[in-house]
Symmetry: C2
Subunit: 493 residues, 2 copies
């Protein structure tokens, strides 16, 4: 029996090349059972004419379906659904409604309800996205990445791509982190002191799980990265926020009894303050006094386009007291989900075992692609390119902010991609953000960065302006709109 | 100053194409500071002659280095290290030894020391690897996967590849799981009832974390998947092992007071027993009586090449009481690290929040590649191919096992890729495995699958023989060696 050509429709909205969509259309007809084994398909000429595409496109789609045994070709008589074409099992009827489980009572714990940072998922639709931490397609090194990803798909890397590595990491990536990335932070580490993680989020989560418990206390900077507070809260530990100053975390303010100190010395998150060298030594002394571990989140050290950053706090660590978390999210891109932990071997061994229980290892292809990107020199070249673009944007940001009369409360000393802004007294940045969103401007209100105990109105005056995702030529207009809205809010009083 | 051509050496052992290795060699010389800005490189002709490679190869490598600003070209006078070439910071001295942290006391918890399954990492060196759960390069659909991976690297998918998706999954992958995979297991689920995980390991881990606590108890099959017991132990819950029979988990033996029941109805792990339909209903009745949740691990349903598997236990679930864990490790490959959870929306929302805290989301490229692989029909074609190869191997396994006089204690009714073998009384399969490893044969001793409370000698008689990674033509010889070693052990008494 021949299938009428009229029964085929291409969804004009569907993604993919024409060839892929035709292949998909025929495969779906077969898998759904609408096309039966032995049925004859329209000729490539007829189907091409019906769909309004070129015949070669249909021919190539049929060839793929032949190779995958969806179709068979019978000489000149045409294409047929293969007798051994893949077919799904028939569906059973839906079960009758039963006695629904009460999930309120059934869950042993909850993970939702954290502060997080609620970022609009549709931020690309805004003309003036002063957001932080998303990649800019205009700055993405697509060709370099693509080249390395394709290389990592090669025959020689099949084992890295496909095999279950249990608790092991890609040795090539670990080697390049050790030889190439850590030395520029002043850190020396061997393979047993490095763990590849699913991004810095995963690195901080593993660390918090191993160091904290409901019986222990952690010191955290105030303000700080909201997702970190969520991670710490999930351990059940006592959370002790320590207000930061213009030099970051003040060591003398770290309270007695803490087991772990979480800090961002390079660029305090979100104020961008850089911790001076003397204070770094004082933090280590204080930690030694307390018997505490220091967790250093070095989340954007690559964005040092103004001057060289100080070596990491970890580079001063003589006791093996510092756990260092790094990320590829800023220099490469966050969708990669790759980061790393550096620490003493006994700690890394436990973090490795915990990671193995939670997820085993980062996908092999992802790790190997990053290793190639590093080893071929793309990573360093990309950091330079990013730095040049960010330097130009930063200059424009500073000029526009000054012109608009806004107050910079914090700016990264060696670079970065954000400013920490303090609005005039009485301005609530959450309200400001809402008003600005209606004018195509996105900003990040400051309150979410502060602990619950910090003074509400003062916290709410702050907001973060990221310039990692906004084109330089839109910066002036965007900043002007922010200033206008602030002025309007003050007038409305 | 010109750099002497003699200072360049290509490591003959290094991986990669010649062009990539030359590019890497020059980039490393620059990054290490051995080549300084302004220094002149050897001409492409001279370097090619020195390295014994074609000139075009050197020219292409130089072109990449030019594009990345490692080199500059000065008309006809040649190539120079760029003045703005990437350079790492100088290394500070190593810190003096301090007061080492006592990690025994510092860790709040330990993750190491689980049972796991210790599999030799060098299993490919063995001629007769009767192991389970590793991909066979000979059966891997390299070209189909590569094609989809390259497509997912395209311009149109840049956002999926690069962006931080916070807690969200690739909608295309979720759609194909819902429309294409779950229906063949009899499961209907919407996007808010599906979560993409980092493999089945991650799916089971998230589930255990949400359902269990030190105050709760879990029923687990005995024997069972050792990594599952590790996952459950990490929640601090009370672990109640329930001995399985030839039909899998017996409902009446599930003790009072359990909050969650972990089961593998399709193919009990490791005995391969299939749970009959009536018993599946009885499991759900028992769970309802106990107010417990059932966690169904459907880890190898795609390997049903002998007959269609029964619909999943989840398909009978009228109460929203079953959490279903699926994996792409068997049909695709474990290095992919992709799996999924299906459950009621309130549960999935919590699992999503927990996953976001732990790792955010699976890498975008990985998810999109799998979505293409599914949507273009490769997945179904690959399952058929795998099934044909495994069916042939299974026949050979059965023939060889019968010829060798070994006892099959369990074999998957609809397929699978392993047999559960019982050695004669008094044989310790761990000792057997050691002896066999010296004869190039790998088997998986049974004791690790059993709970601590099960009878030691009886447990130790068992072992698993996987045939997913061994070529068909080696099966007979491998099984014969196992029988010979068993006979030798009995003689030695």
């Amino acid at each position: 029996m021949a299938v009428p050509v009229e029964s085929f429709f291409l969804d004009p909205e569907a993604p993919g090349t024409l060839q892929a969509r035709i292949q998909q259309m025929v495969a779906e007809e077969i898998l759904s059972g609408r096309l039966k084994p032995g049925e004859k398909l329209p000729s490539t000429r007829r189907l091409a004419a019906h769909l309004g595409v070129s015949r070669i496109t249909v021919t190539l789609a049929y060839a793929e379906l032949l190779a995958n045994d969806y179709l068979t070709a019978r000489g000149r008589s045409g294409f047929y659904v293969s007798q051994s074409a893949p077919r799904p099992a028939a569906l059973p009827p839906a079960p009758a409604p039963g006695q629904p489980v009460d999930w309120q009572r059934t869950l042993a714990r909850r993970a939702s309800g954290g502060a997080g940072l609620r970022k609009p998922r549709d931020w690309r639709r805004f003309r003036f996205p002063f957001i932080y931490g998303q990649p800019d397609p205009a700055l993405f090194d697509h060709s370099g990445w693509r080249q390395c990803a394709i290389r990592a798909l090669g025959q020689k890397d099949i084992d890295t791509l496909t095999a279950d590595q249990h608790d092991a990491d890609d040795p090539l990536l670990v080697e390049f982190i050790a030889r190439h990335i850590l030395p520029r932070r002043g850190i020396r580490a061997g393979p047993d002191e490095i763990l590849v993680t699913l991004g810095a989020q995963n690195a901080l989560w593993l660390t918090a799980q191993l160091l904290l418990s409901p019986e222990r206390a952690a010191a955290v900077e105030d303000p700080s990265y909201p997702a970190l507070r969520d991670i710490l809260a999930q351990t059940g530990c006592r959370l002790l926020p320590v207000p930061v100053d213009g030099d970051g975390l003040p060591p003398e303010a770290i309270p007695e009894g803490v087991a772990a100190i979480f800090t961002t010395p390079s660029h305090q998150c979100p104020t961008s303050a850089t911790m001076p060298r003397a204070r770094r030594r004082a933090i280590l002394d204080r930690a030694r006094q307390l018997g505490a571990v220091v967790v250093e989140d070095d989340y954007e050290f690559e964005m040092a386009y103004l001057k060289a950053p100080l070596p990491a706090l970890k580079s001063l660590d003589a006791d093996g007291r510092v756990i260092y978390a790094g990320s590829f999210s800023k220099a490469l891109f966050p969708g990669l989900r790759l980061g790393y932990l550096v620490g003493p071997a006994p700690f890394i061994a436990e973090a490795r075992a915990l990671r193995a229980a939670v997820l085993r290892h980062a996908p092999g292809h992802t790790q190997r692609t990053a290793a190639y990107y590093l080893s071929l020199g793309h990573y360093d070249a990309q950091i330079q390119r990013l730095g040049r673009a960010l330097a130009a944007r930063r200059e424009e940001m500073e000029r526009a902010i000054r012109a608009a009369g806004l107050e910079i409360a914090g700016a990264g000393a060696h670079g970065g991609s954000s400013f920490w802004i303090r609005a005039p007294e009485g301005i609530d940045s959450a309200r400001l953000a809402e008003r600005l969103a209606r004018r195509e401007v996105l900003i990040e209100p400051g309150a979410a960065f502060f602990s619950a105990g910090s003074p509400g109105a003062e916290a709410a005056r702050h907001f973060r302006l990221g310039y990692g995702s906004i084109p330089r030529e839109r910066i002036r207009e965007g900043i002007a709109r922010i200033a206008e809205e602030i002025a309007a809010m003050r007038t409305e009083g």
